[in-house]
């Protein structure tokens, strides 16, 4: 702090430190605390109060439906005199939703059979019908008032009992847990693929003597990354689709006949997801490795060769030990990114491949509408990733300082 004040002066230092503090607090600390809090808060969705809340929701739905029927009836009454009696209202049949009825408990809630189109209905009949519907609405309203009063006395405003517990984690189903483990395995596989592909590229780039070669390799890697990730993923879909470029190529060289409907469905498989992901994250693997190999004294490679070492020996004993920090950084980044990636499995997988945990988290949040369990799942993934980082650092015997280099 004193050092900073000396270099930048009081005002600027205050600004820097202030902004960094605000950034850390607002962008990291507060959201993380909120997420952890949610993760350890369990919403009891199967309990009495939850069921009550569900009943209230159903009652409201039903009331809305009956109101719609009533509205239709009144419209028919006013328009029946003007328009031709043969013209049926297109809304009437769809207004009655029989499918909604079985979920709604309670007596007198079955849809009135008289709601079916009856153009020949007389004015008297309509009025009787309307009166019936109105009485049904009144009954529902009183029921809702009762249930809401009961809810208010039994729980908080959310309508569900909340308590601190590990239940969000422990209630993870066997299927979800399997997906969680498989996702870690998939991410690890992607990392290994990325390493196998990137190490030779990074080595070649670092060893390139002529500047042009280096520029070419770097451009070939950097320019694709100027394109939005979604576009890159979709371009892979173009390639891998059944009517895509790869099948067209196979058609062109005569392996398959596309006009006869032949073709491989490359997309919607884990292979395709892996391919796209490796492509999406190669850069994060190539550059750290390239940077470390680039700092290796080239004469060490020559010395090893001069002493009779084979290519394998040169790499395992000289180059890879030197590149370890870069490999660790690249692996950590690739693993974290692929474990948390949602775009690639969603777009390329199309729901027809084994699920990734990130998709599951998304659905917990936005489809199951269970933010607490979503938070718990995210926290589990985050913890797994941190454990992976620590293990990687231990295996590569790399410290945080080496990585910072």
């Amino acid at each position: 702090m004193g050092e900073l004040t000396k270099i930048y002066g009081r005002g600027l230092t205050f600004l820097f430190v202030g902004l960094v503090t605000i950034w850390i607090l607002l962008m990291i600390v507060v959201p993380q605390i909120r997420m952890i809090e949610r993760a350890f808060t369990f919403e009891d969705r199967g309990g009495e109060t939850a069921m009550l809340a569900l009943d209230i929701d159903h009652a409201y739905t039903e009331k809305f439906q009956i109101e719609q029927q009533l509205l239709t009836l009144q419209q028919q009454g006013s328009s029946g005199t003007k328009s031709s009696p043969a013209a049926p209202s297109p809304f009437t049949p769809s207004m009655t939703v029989p499918g909604a009825a079985p979920t709604a408990p309670g007596p007198g809630l079955a849809p009135s059979p008289s709601a079916s189109p009856q153009n020949a209905m007389s004015a008297e009949e309509r009025q009787a019908e309307a009166a019936d519907l109105r009485s049904q609405i009144a009954a529902l309203e009183s029921r809702i008032t009762d249930m809401e009063a009961q809810e208010d006395t039994s729980s908080g405003e959310a309508g569900m009992k909340e308590r601190l517990s590990l239940d969000n984690f422990t209630t993870m189903s066997a299927l979800h847990f399997k997906i969680f483990l498989m996702t870690l395995l998939y991410a690890f596989t992607v990392t290994v693929f990325a390493f196998v592909i990137c190490y030779p590229v990074a080595y070649a780039a670092a060893m390139a003597e002529s500047r042009n070669k280096l520029t070419l390799i770097l451009i070939g890697l950097v320019i694709p990354y100027a394109i939005n990730e979604l576009l890159r993923i979709f371009s892979w879909v173009m390639i891998l689709e059944k009517n895509g470029i790869l099948n067209a190529f196979l058609d062109g060289i005569g392996i398959i006949d596309m006009s006869a409907g032949e073709g491989f469905r490359f997309v919607a498989s884990n292979g395709a997801v892996f391919t796209v992901m490796v492509y999406a994250y190669v850069l994060f693997m190539v550059f750290p490795i390239y940077n470390t190999i680039d700092t290796l004294d080239k004469s060490q490679i020559e010395a090893a060769r001069d002493l009779g070492a084979s290519v394998w020996k040169i790499h395992t004993r000289v180059v890879i030990p030197h590149a370890k920090p870069g490999i660790a950084v690249g692996s950590i980044m690739t693993f974290m990114l692929s474990a948390g990636s949602i775009a690639a499995p969603e777009i390329v997988g199309r729901g027809m491949h084994p699920d990734w945990f990130s998709q599951l988290i998304y659905r917990r949040f936005f489809e199951a509408d269970s933010w607490n369990q979503g938070s718990a799942y995210s926290l589990a993934l985050l913890t797994a990733c941190i454990i992976f980082i620590l293990i990687t650092m231990a295996i590569f015997k790399v410290g945080v300082k080496d990585i910072a280099k």
Binding site: S299, Q300, E302, D306, G308
Partner: protein
């Protein structure tokens, strides 16, 4: 361990960009010899070394080691070991692992490797440092590790690429003696690349002087210094005062040259004849001051004489360096420090040097700045 001879026949090297680093060269290095290649940076000496070690393929010509042709054989399969200028020790391996790396590459068992590494570290007087990392050693110790590592693969030819250039003067002088000693013990052929004439002269059995991709002269250290054959060898090794002029008369292996400083008589090295352009060279330490000639014992009757005026007089310990001006031409003279503070201190001098110490050659390329 024993050395093998190295034979270069018509070897040349032209890089893809058209630069010719080495002109067609014939060179034979005898088994068990300490051979130096001396030249300024960029003269092609490192290229020759890399061709012998197998990292470069010559454009033309052939290389044989111990009679075996070497073209097309990679560096890992040649009976050579190279000590790099940067040493190129493996920083993540311990000292003994470094030394044993060549054996590891050959699949020798760990216990045998360790034993051999210890023997070699004994040879280079590093026996108690085997478990340290190279980074924990001093410059001279690292140097010795590099030598031990190269010797571990029992090479017939050890190639050294200016390995002492990173050391300070005292250590460098000490390592010269050690390298020479190791060479004598192991009888391996040493090919030593340097731009430092002191290193080359002190250690070598023979020295090749290289300039602009061509070998100028191959001779023993004494011969090279005392009887250089070319203006380049004469000026690159040691210092020379150079005067140019025209040959006036030729007699008894001597030539008399007319220069702006008067007639100078010297050994007619290139057999010049009357009327030819010539350069006359004499070393600074072979020039005497007239008023101090009593210290030299008898001088021949015939002496070259040049009048000069003192510009600067620097004491350099054992020597006194005098820089004089002879009719617009600067002359450098070395005097032995006799302890007399007035030695050569006056302004005007008559410089004397014997015809036998003076060399007359055909003009040619000369060493400009020596590093």
């Amino acid at each position: 361990m024993s050395g093998q001879d190295v034979e270069l026949t018509g070897v040349s090297m032209t890089y893809p960009n058209g630069f010719t680093a080495v002109q067609p060269t014939d060179l034979t290095i005898k088994a068990g010899e300490f051979f130096s290649i001396l030249g300024p940076s960029g003269c092609g000496k490192t290229t020759i070394l890399r061709m012998i070690s197998g990292f470069l393929d010559p454009t033309t010509g052939s290389i044989a080691i111990g009679g075996e042709p070497m073209i097309g054989i990679g560096p890992n399969h040649r009976p050579t070991a190279l000590i790099f200028q940067s040493l190129a020790l493996f920083p993540l391996m311990s000292v003994w692992e470094n030394v044993a790396f060549g054996l590891e590459a050959r699949g020798v068992s760990k216990t045998a490797r360790r034993k051999r590494a210890e023997e070699l570290l004994d040879l280079v007087a590093l026996s108690d440092q085997e478990d340290k990392k190279p980074g924990e050693l001093s410059g001279g110790q690292r140097q010795r590790v590099a030598v031990a590592r190269a010797l571990a693969v029992e090479p017939a030819v050890l190639l050294l690429d200016e390995p002492l250039s990173a050391l300070d003067l005292k250590l460098r002088q000490h390592m010269r003696a050690e390298l020479k000693d190791i060479q004598r013990k192991t009888e391996v052929t040493f090919i030593y690349i340097t731009h430092d004439q002191g290193e080359a002269l002190a250690m070598s059995d023979r020295v090749a002087v290289m300039n602009e991709g061509a070998i100028d002269q191959v001779a023993s250290a004494e011969d090279l210094y005392n009887h250089p054959n070319t203006p380049f060898a004469a000026t690159f090794v040691g210092e020379q005062n150079v005067f140019s002029g025209k040959v006036k008369t030729v007699a008894n292996g001597h030539a008399q040259v007319e220069t702006p400083h008067g007639m100078l008589l010297g050994m007619n090295k290139h057999g010049l004849s009357t009327g030819e352009n010539a350069i006359v060279m004499v070393r600074p330490e072979r020039i005497y001051l007239e008023d101090r000639k009593d210290r030299l014992g008898p001088l021949p009757n015939e002496l070259n004489r040049i009048e000069a005026r003192l510009q600067r007089r620097d004491l350099e310990g054992a020597l006194i360096n005098m820089y004089l001006d002879a009719a617009g031409h600067s002359v450098h003279v070395n005097l032995h420090n006799t302890g007399d503070a007035t030695l050569g201190a006056q302004d005007d001098h008559m410089l004397l040097f014997t015809p036998d110490d003076t060399v007359v050659m055909r003009p040619g390329p000369m060493a400009r700045d020596k590093a």
